[in-house]
Amino acid sequence: MAEENNNTQATKEVSSKAPKKRGVFSNFALLLCLIPVFLVLKTTVLFLSMAMIPTLISLVFENQGKNSYKFKWLSVGGMNFAGSLPFLFELWFSANTLESVVEIFFSPVAIFVIFGAAGVGFMFSRFIPPIVLSILSTKDQRYVAHLKEKQRQLFELWGEEVSQLANQQKTSG
């Protein structure tokens, strides 16, 4: 019996360590893949690294906070990326050098558009959830009222006895 317990424990330990090993390995593999990509697409990577700074900040803050909804960075990121895209296209279809990266990115229009878009994304994450909540609450209230009306109709048709099963279920939990 004791032997069996030991075996079970050992199996648990092995199984808990295995994912960690796989995680380290996969990260390492990813890094190995990214190095050639970075070398080939260095201008794009540099541009996006600078342009997507608001998204990065949002992601860091979101992960630090207690908020369990991990969608704010995606909202900021989506708009941030949308704002970056015209300038990225401009980079790709012009000289596509490190100098042109600096030139394009540091133009006031680009900074305004890229970070402004990120701001809009932030606004989205700030205002859309309350609007959705309000809409759904109203919908819920109307649904509850509808259910109660139907219950009342059943009550009128069948009397108090119709609620017996509901009461039993309520009592039995």
């Binding site: 909804y69 969608f71 704010k72 995606l74 909202s75 900021v76 990121g77 989506g78 708009m79 990326f81 949308a82 895209l85 015209p86 296209f89 279809f93 994304g121 989205f124 994450s125 859309i128 959830p129 309350p130 609007i131 959705v132 909540l133 759904l136 609450s137 819920d140 649904y143 509850v144 259910l147 109660k148 139907k150 219950q151 009342r152 059943l154 009550f155 009128e156 048709l157 069948w158 009397g159 108090e160 006895e161 119709v162 609620s163 017996q164 099963l165 509901a166 279920q169 309520k170």
Partner: protein, 706 residues
């Protein structure tokens, strides 16, 4: 919302009130009409004729005292179609149970040696102002054989015709009855008739109008039967009838009761000490030819007494010597008790029976033990009595009841043929039904009889007589007594054990119901006078129907015990509707109106309130039609009920589902808000990413267009 619904249901769910209101006015009109009708009947009715079963007229103004029985008066009767032979009617005492088994098995049959029972019907008898059983018998043209206590001896000294003329017809009658599982128990000189005017045919008369041996002269009964209360003698056996035949022959031979002037106690003691033959004949001289027969018939030991074969052999001329009575063991020393000395068990047992109050003390005394041990050297008897003492303590906590039981067991041990005795109650176990019936019919308490059944008096008697089958049956009886539901209890035992007792319900007692078909018309009549707030079914009616018609309505009667008012009302209606469907009458306006007050609960068997309301509207109209069958079919429509039940279950499930949803939405509010906010973030993310993709698409499109 809930309050509104409850109020609404209050109004719709109290149909009783609605019924009462709806019927109040209608009932008043009907009552008035009934009163008018009754008055007409009373004014036009003639006291001079009573019709029996549509076949006979009985004339209350024409009594025939010569044919009266002690508890039934004789009246002139005739067949309506004049085709029947001459008949007369015996009008039974409505306060006595009759012997219905005889009616069932003998009605209309011409049996040798018996006055033919032509018909038997219940009818309203004007002198009693209530219904009673009226028996129609063939008219005995030659009249009674022995009228009064004294008459001219019927046999001359040189009479040679005694066997064929006197014994043979009675023997035939007893054989006919025996074949049908019946006994006569009323063989006596004044119940013998000459059927023909020439007085050549002797027949036995009525034995139905009173309980077995109820009217018998004590001297004509065997000793155990003599010890009983007249009502407690029971059906007995053919041996008892043969004994009565012997006594009757003695009476007919001498022309008077040879024991005339003796009290019952004196006669019992004389029979116990000298034997019945010697006691009845005394110093009388009788026809020599009869001596052997009488010795055989008057043997006190039932097992030695002549049976029908031996009597037939005697008639045929084959003379046999009867066995002698077993000699009762006497003790060398006697015991003194209540001023007399006793030297044998049976006489002492009877002395204990007579002097009940001091009996227990004597049984517990040392001198009684000494008498048994030294006088009889009977250790088993002493052991049996000591066992009875212990049993009495186990059975009863009360000293007086212990004493009663001890005295009973001691008497039974000392004289095993003794009846069941408890103070004034003395009866054979087969008479328990008649004992109960008599008590009920005379409004006497039945507690003592009930106690005797439950506390082992009867069981002890059967144990002594080793009747295991009866002990088993007794257990069922005891169980029935102890159950208090309608259709069970002591009332059921009454109707189970006494076939001839009419239903004793206070509601219909006057109607003399002896059959299930009589019940509805009787209740219909009762509905005009009784308080209709009480149920039209009581313990007596339920028990009576359970016994007489259990096969069809037993289940319905059982349902009336349900704690659910709807099921109980359904049982009541179903029982009476079945009776009406089978036996009629087609219209029972009074009863259906009465039932209306009690079956409203049945509407609640339907769940749907609309259905209930519709039924509440329809029912008063149906009830006014007087057809319980129609009412039952409407209220208990199986298809409608099944649909209602199915729909109700679905509605319950639907309601429960909705209640669960409402609860989830109302009670898990914070969780729901969380869900909504999460959805909001998802939406904002989707919008952002969507815009990014749109921008990318537009830029690519722009490039392609260039």
């Amino acid at each position: 919302m809930e309050e509104t619904s409850v109020n609404a249901s209050d109004e719709t769910l109290d149909p009783i009130k609605q019924f009462r209101n709806a019927f109040a006015e209608e009932d008043k009109k009907e009552e008035a009409q009934e009163t008018v009708k009754e008055t007409v009947v009373l004014k036009t009715s003639k006291k001079s004729v009573v019709q029996i079963g549509g076949e006979f007229y009985v004339y209350p103004d024409s009594p025939i005292p010569a044919l009266d029985m002690q508890n039934a008066k004789a009246f002139k009767a005739e067949a309506i179609d004049k085709s029947q032979s001459k008949v007369y009617a015996l009008v039974c005492n409505p306060d006595l149970p009759i012997r219905n088994d005889h009616i069932t098995k003998r009605k209309g049959l011409k049996l040798a040696g018996l006055l033919r029972l032509v018909d038997a019907e219940v009818a309203m008898w004007p002198d009693f102002n209530r219904k009673t059983m009226i028996l129609i018998y063939d008219y005995p043209e030659g009249g009674r054989v022995g009228t009064g206590m004294r008459f001219t001896p019927k046999f001359t000294k040189d009479e040679v015709n005694i066997g064929p003329k006197w014994v043979s017809p009675i023997l035939s009658a007893l054989s006919e009855l025996s074949e049908r599982g019946l006994t006569h128990r009323a063989i006596r000189p004044d119940n013998l008739y000459y059927l023909d005017e020439e007085k050549t045919q002797v027949v036995l008369g009525d034995c139905i109008s009173a309980p077995p041996a109820f009217e018998q002269n004590d001297s004509l009964e065997p000793i155990p039967s003599m010890m009983c209360n007249p009502i407690g003698r029971g059906d007995g056996s053919i041996a008892d009838d043969l004994y009565s035949l012997g006594g009757t022959l003695v009476w007919l031979a001498v022309g008077y009761n040879s024991t005339e002037g003796m009290t019952n106690d004196e006669l019992i003691e004389l029979k116990l000490s000298k034997g019945s033959y010697a006691a009845l004949l005394g110093h009388e001289r009788i026809v020599l030819a009869l001596t052997e027969l009488l010795r055989g018939l008057l043997l006190d030991d039932e097992n030695l007494r002549w049976n029908t074969i031996q009597v037939q052999q005697w008639i045929d001329g084959r003379r046999a010597t009867p066995l002698q009575n077993r000699i009762t063991k006497t003790s060398s020393r006697s015991i003194q008790y209540c001023g007399a000395e006793y030297d044998n068990y049976p006489l002492f047992a009877y002395a204990l029976m007579k002097n009940w109050d001091s009996a227990a003390e004597t049984i517990r005394s040392e001198r009684f033990e000494t008498w048994i041990l030294r006088g009889f050297e009977d250790k088993p008897m002493l052991a049996a009595i000591n066992a009875a003492k212990e049993l009495a303590i186990i059975q009863f906590s009360n000293r007086e009841k212990q004493n009663d039981y001890l005295v009973f067991r001691t008497i039974l041990n000392l004289y095993e043929h003794a009846p069941i005795v408890m103070r004034g109650y003395r009866f054979m176990p087969s008479a328990i039904g008649y004992m109960l019936a008599y008590s009920y019919m005379h409004n006497e308490d039945v507690t003592t009889i009930t106690m005797m059944i439950l506390k082992g008096y009867l069981e002890a008697w059967y144990q002594v007589h080793q009747n295991l089958q009866a002990i088993q049956a007794l257990k069922t009886v005891s169980n029935n007594i102890q159950r208090q539901e309608l259709g069970l209890g002591i009332e059921r035992v009454l109707y189970e054990l006494c076939d001839g007792v009419p239903c004793q319900s206070p509601l219909i007692k006057k109607e003399y119901c002896v059959s299930e078909r009589d019940i509805l018309p009787a209740i219909e009549n009762a509905s005009k006078t009784v308080d209709t707030s009480q149920l039209p079914l009581d313990r007596h009616i339920a028990a009576f129907l359970m016994i007489h018609y259990s096969s069809k309505i037993g289940e319905a009667i059982s349902d009336t015990n349900s704690s659910h008012p709807g099921i109980a009302a359904r049982g009541l209606l179903r029982a009476y509707a079945t009776l009406q469907a089978v036996f009629g009458p087609e219209k029972l306006n009074g009863l259906s109106s009465w039932m209306g007050n009690h079956i409203a609960e049945m509407i609640k068997n339907y769940h749907n309130l609309e259905t209930r309301m519709n039924l509440e509207k329809t029912l008063p109209k149906l009830i006014r039609k007087g057809s319980l069958v129609e009412v039952y079919q409407t209220l208990d429509n199986p298809e409608a009920k099944q649909k209602d039940q199915q729909d109700f279950l679905n509605a319950q499930k639907e309601f429960a589902g909705m209640a669960k949803e409402v609860e989830e939405l109302e009670t898990n509010r914070s969780k729901r808000i969380d869900q909504c906010i999460r959805l909001g973030y998802e939406v904002s993310a989707i919008v952002s990413v969507g815009i990014a993709l749109l921008v990318m698409f537009l830029l690519l499109l722009g490039r392609v267009m260039k």
